[in-house]
């Protein structure tokens, strides 16, 4: 099985110059040999592609990851959508991706673990 738990942690921002491990996302996605998302495995079981959002002092959020072109939309209940932008970046430890917040702010996220 190539389904993985991928933890993304907030990278350096103006508010958190050193990043923050207390602000993170946990993704469940299938990865291929190049650490890209395995679309075939995803299409076989889309309900398994989930996301959890842990944000310090805020309630946890949980939802589904829905593909949208090269990006992934985070659908957590009725909350405004966030968009995970991979831009072809492999989901590999130490690399950085970004999250577009509902207000348009773009947050850098470090790939902290892939299990």
């Amino acid at each position: 099985m190539n389904w993985r738990s991928i933890r993304l942690e907030l990278g350096s921002t103006g508010e958190f110059p050193a990043g923050s491990v207390g602000r993170a996302y946990l993704l469940r996605l299938p990865l291929d040999d190049c650490d890209g998302v395995d679309k075939t495995a995803y299409r076989a079981n889309p309900a398994r592609a989930t996301v959890r959002r842990y944000w310090s002092t805020e309630p946890d959020q949980q939802g589904l990851l829905i593909p949208s072109g090269h990006d992934w939309r985070l659908c957590c209940d009725d909350r405004p959508k966030r968009v995970l932008k991979l831009n072809g970046t492999p989901l590999r430890l130490g690399l950085q991706v970004s999250m577009v917040e509902p207000d348009g702010t773009v947050l850098p996220l470090k790939i902290a673990s892939v299990k």
Binding site: V21, L26, T50, R52, Y54, E58, P59, S113
Partner: protein, 381 residues
């Protein structure tokens, strides 16, 4: 003078290093926070327990180590203590749930101490992971349950015999009165026959009432009629029940999400009994998801008029159609082991609280069990 200052500074450094070396060997995790909840120190045991390095968490809010609902409420707990000085946990300790960096939760025993250092208030949390102890407790409980199983079957057989014996009398009388009434109604009706038929139906009703009283008396006897209903915090009940029920969920990679309606926190219940209901439903949900690719458990509450609805949703295999109609009946189960009395007990407890319990299919497969409880912020007689 300078030499004295230098010697004093050396001594303090030496003492600090000594203390640090002692704390490094303490098996319990130790987390030091300021009065705003910001992490000041994170012991080696804490690094191991939570999966974070000390350098990563210094300056973070300690709530990052907690799952919802404590996560978003912890700042409020601290503010409440700063404002009122009322201790809810300091010096008392409690069993609660913590969250590892990998997202999984585990039960802990938390003790908190308070100190003033150079005019600033700090709190020290000592955290003991009780997963293993809880696991051992649960195994022991399973073994005791298996041993008690045979005994219970024997007791139930006796109970069923005595219940059948007591009920046979009114049932036989009801049969005979109904047959008599039917015979009377077959013939030509006159005033006397009408009166006799009416009398037979009245006697039938009286005997049916008697049968009902026998059942009620038996239920009262079994339940002893002793429960302690009082206003309790549903968040607290939930946290304690979760800590116990979620033991082992970490190794099965179960996502647990708790979403509580703040308006429905106060409930008028017997805390232990409701924890029993939550424990049964959560364990059932976990068991149902063992074969599922997606294992997600969502617990929510919602306040509506005078009741609070608690929902436990899983992404398991769902309920078999054949079992569904009698699921809350005793001795009905889909499990290989188990007596099938868990849900029956849940129903008895919830109905004794004036609530109701039911289930429905989940949106994406699985099952949602729901039950209602009376709100505690309203007046109760």
């Amino acid at each position: 003078m300078d030499q004295q200052v230098e010697r004093g500074s050396d001594e303090r450094t030496h003492r600090a290093e000594h203390l640090r070396s002692i704390l490094a060997t303490v098996p319990d995790a130790m987390v030091l926070i300021d009065e705003m909840g910001v992490i000041l120190s994170f012991s080696a045991a804490a690094e191991k327990m939570f999966g974070y390095a000390e350098a990563e968490v210094i300056g973070e809010n300690v709530s990052m180590l907690m799952p919802s609902p404590d996560r978003e409420r912890h700042d409020g707990y601290l503010k409440n203590y700063r404002d009122t000085g009322v201790r809810k946990i300091i010096g008392i300790g409690r069993v609660t749930t913590a969250r590892h960096r990998d997202g999984n939760t585990f039960p802990i025993e938390l003790s908190v101490g308070e100190a003033w250092v150079e005019g600033k208030r700090i709190f020290t949390g000592f955290i003991h992971d009780i997963s293993q102890r809880r696991k051992a407790d649960m195994r022991l409980r399973d073994l005791q349950a298996e041993l008690a199983h045979v005994g219970r079957l024997s007791e139930m057989s006796t109970l069923a015999s005595s219940l059948a014996h007591e009920l046979n009398q009114p049932l036989a009388a009801i049969t005979s009165y109904c047959q008599g009434a039917a015979d009377l109604l077959e013939g030509e009706m006159d005033a006397e026959r009408q009166a006799m038929a009416r009398e037979a139906m009245r006697d039938t009703a009286a005997q049916a009432m008697r049968a009902g009283q026998i059942v009620k008396r038996m239920r009262d006897f079994l339940s002893h009629g002793e429960t302690e209903h009082q206003v309790e915090s549903l968040a607290r009940i939930m946290t304690e029940a979760n800590a116990l029920a979620l033991v082992g969920s970490r190794e099965h990679q179960i996502d647990v999400q708790v979403k509580l309606d703040p308006d429905g926190d106060a409930v008028f219940v017997d805390r232990i009994q409701i924890q029993q209901v939550l424990f049964n439903l959560i364990r059932n949900a976990i068991d149902a998801m063992m074969e599922s690719a997606t294992r997600s458990l969502t617990i929510t509450t919602e306040a509506k008029s005078d009741m609070v609805t608690v929902s436990i949703a899983d992404t398991g295999s769902g309920i078999e159609q054949t079992l569904a109609p009698q699921l809350f009946q005793p001795f009905v189960t889909s499990k290989q082991s188990g007596m099938g009395i868990g849900l029956s007990i849940c129903r008895t407890i919830i109905e004794a609280h004036g609530g109701r319990i039911w289930f429905e299919p989940g949106h994406d497969g699985g099952t949602i069990f729901r039950f209602t409880l009376p709100r505690g912020d309203l007046e109760h007689e």
